[in-house]
Each structure stands twice: as structure tokens, then as C-alpha cells.
Amino acid sequence: MCTLYPTGPIQDLLKQTAALQRFSLINGDLFATLTDREIVVLTLVAEGLDNPAIARGLEISRSTVQNHRARIRDKLNIIAQPDYIIFALAYDLIHF
């Protein structure tokens, strides 16, 4: 049994959910440019897999994974690692 600690009101979490929804509305056009394959790669990146693991999982070469990632970065204007996860969360590719 784990001990439960009070976490306080959930306003933060509600605001976050609303913010993710806004994010998905604003970036809908960008996201729509991704191919099915790129969406798969984005999901795996957001799940926390590294390039070699993705290459193994999809049975493609590492450089292909790198190419996919580069294209995803360009299409979605991704600057840093968290952006992948925020996109994946906003479009329901991963769940926390």
C-alpha cells in the first residue's frame, strides 16, 4: 500500500488540459502535414525510445529514423525534446 498525500486542488491540471486543447487547435495545420509514418515515429520518440530502439522496432535503418525525425522537426517547428512530447500529448498519441 502506498501512502497517499494530499495534492491540493486540481485547477492546475484542468488548466493544463485546456492549454493542450488550445495547442492542438492552433497547430492543427502543422500536424496535418505529417505522414502516417512520421506520426508513428513521433509517437515512439514521445514514448521515450531512442533512435536505435525505433530503428529496431520499425525494422528500418538508423539513418532513416534520423531522416524522419529531421522532417518532423521541420514540419512541426520543433526546437527541443519536450516539444515532441507536447505534440504527442495534444494529439492523443501518448497518454500520461
Binding site: Y5, Q16, A19, P82, F96
Partner: protein
């Protein structure tokens, strides 16, 4: 993903309807209450079908404001499917005749929602009230809104669970470590963090290692989950 069962759904709407009725009886303003209800809310005259009051969500739903509905009733009634009008004129008088105010009646209406060219189903719940003027409360929601709401709530609950489970662990972090976690979650890399906090890159590495161990992080995803749960991400 879990959906609400019929019973839970009914209870969910009943909860809102009762809350609204109580607050109206206590003299609270319809507009204030309406803003806090995540569904379309109407106050209707059961005898004439006239809509006496409607919240903003309701206006967004049908694309008509209360004034527009009054002025252009003939246009408004066109967005309601004829079968729904017949259906309502059959069931509403029975409800109106019943003296039992705690009864909530669920039904489906077919309505052309704002911006749509086809009729879509809308789940509505209506309840007679004990308000002096005998108005009925109507609460309506399109099923796709309901699905979204359920999913939203599910996310909030699962994040809160995560927070509960990992509260103690999170508290073992030093102030500096939380600071670095926050910066990482908002897209700073090691050099940027070192520069902003006036520490060496080596020190940043050490902090990150400690974070990894203390929170048992295996990937950036795990880090982001903590950051989201403890509200450190700026969206």
C-alpha cells in the same frame, strides 16, 4: 478509455440540474450560473415551448442568441428536426402534468448545430423545477462533447493519481533540482541551463544524474510526466 455508463451519465446531469435549480432558487443570477456549466443550459416555459433563458454554451451550440431566437423563431425552429418537434410535443405535456419535481427526463434531439449542414444527435435532460414560475431546466450536450469531457476528466484523474503516488519522491528533490527539472521540461539544454544558473556544465550533468536517480527517470517522457503533474510546464 472508459466512458460513462448510462447511470453515471444520468447522475452526472442530474447533479448539474439540481445544482442549477438550488442556486436559482437562492436567487443567483442565471448568467453567472450558466457560465459555470460546461453544457448548453436553457430555462424553458413548458406551456409555450418558449426559451426564457440560455447560457453562452447554448448560443455556441445552436448559433442563435436568445434575442435572435425570439425574433426569428421560424428560422430557429428549422434547425430542429421535425421528428424531434413531434416527439417533444408528445412527451413534454406528460412531464408537465406530473407533479414529481425530482424527475429527470433524458431524450435525444436532432438539431443542426452551428456550422453544420446536417442534423446531429444531442443528448438532453430536462427537469421540472420548483421555481415560482414553474420553468423547466434543459441541459444538452452533443455526444462528441461528452466524449471529450470524459477524456479530459480521465486525464486529470490519472495525473492526480500520479501526483499522489510520487509526491514523497518529488519532495526529496532540492530546490535546485526542481529548477533544473523545470528548465529541462521547457526545452533548455545543458549549456543553456549552465549559462542561466551560472554553474558549470559538469554541475548540470551531476544535477541531471541525481534527478534521474531520485525520480527513476528512464526517458524524457518520464521527466515530462513529472513536470506536467507538478505543473512545471509552460504551455
Amino acid at each position: 478509455m472508459a466512458y460513462l455508463t448510462d447511470k453515471e451519465l444520468l447522475e452526472h446531469f442530474q447533479f448539474y440540474l439540481l445544482q442549477v435549480e438550488c442556486r436559482l432558487r437562492e436567487g443567483e443570477d442565471f448568467k453567472t450560473i450558466g457560465k459555470q456549466i460546461p453544457y448548453s443550459l436553457q430555462l424553458n416555459d413548458p406551456k409555450t415551448f418558449e426559451i426564457r433563458n440560455m447560457n453562452k454554451k447554448g448560443t455556441e451550440h445552436v448559433g442563435f442568441t436568445l434575442g435572435e431566437i425570439r425574433d426569428k423563431w421560424n428560422e430557429y425552429i428549422k434547425i430542429v428536426h421535425p421528428s424531434t418537434v413531434v416527439n417533444l410535443s408528445n412527451i413534454l405535456p406528460a412531464l408537465y402534468a406530473s407533479p414529481n419535481c425530482s424527475k429527470t427526463l433524458p431524450f435525444v434531439q436532432y438539431v443542426k448545430l452551428f456550422g453544420k449542414s446536417i442534423f446531429s444527435p444531442v443528448i438532453s435532460f430536462t427537469k421540472p423545477t420548483s421555481l415560482p414560475n414553474g420553468m423547466h431546466l434543459w441541459l444538452s450536450s452533443s455526444p462528441c462533447d461528452l466524449g471529450k469531457k470524459a477524456k479530459e476528466m480521465e486525464r486529470v484523474v490519472s495525473m492526480d493519481e500520479f501526483k499522489l503516488k510520487n509526491f514523497k519522491r518529488f519532495q526529496t528533490l532540492t530546490k535546485r533540482e526542481v529548477e533544473i527539472l523545470q528548465m529541462l521540461a521547457n526545452g533548455c539544454d545543458n549549456p543553456a541551463i549552465a549559462e542561466q544558473l551560472f554553474i558549470s556544465r559538469q554541475t548540470v550533468e551531476t544535477h541531471r544524474k541525481n534527478l534521474r536517480i531520485k525520480l527513476d527517470l528512464n526517458s524524457y517522457r518520464d521527466l515530462m510526466k513529472y513536470a506536467f503533474s507538478f505543473n512545471l510546464v509552460q504551455l
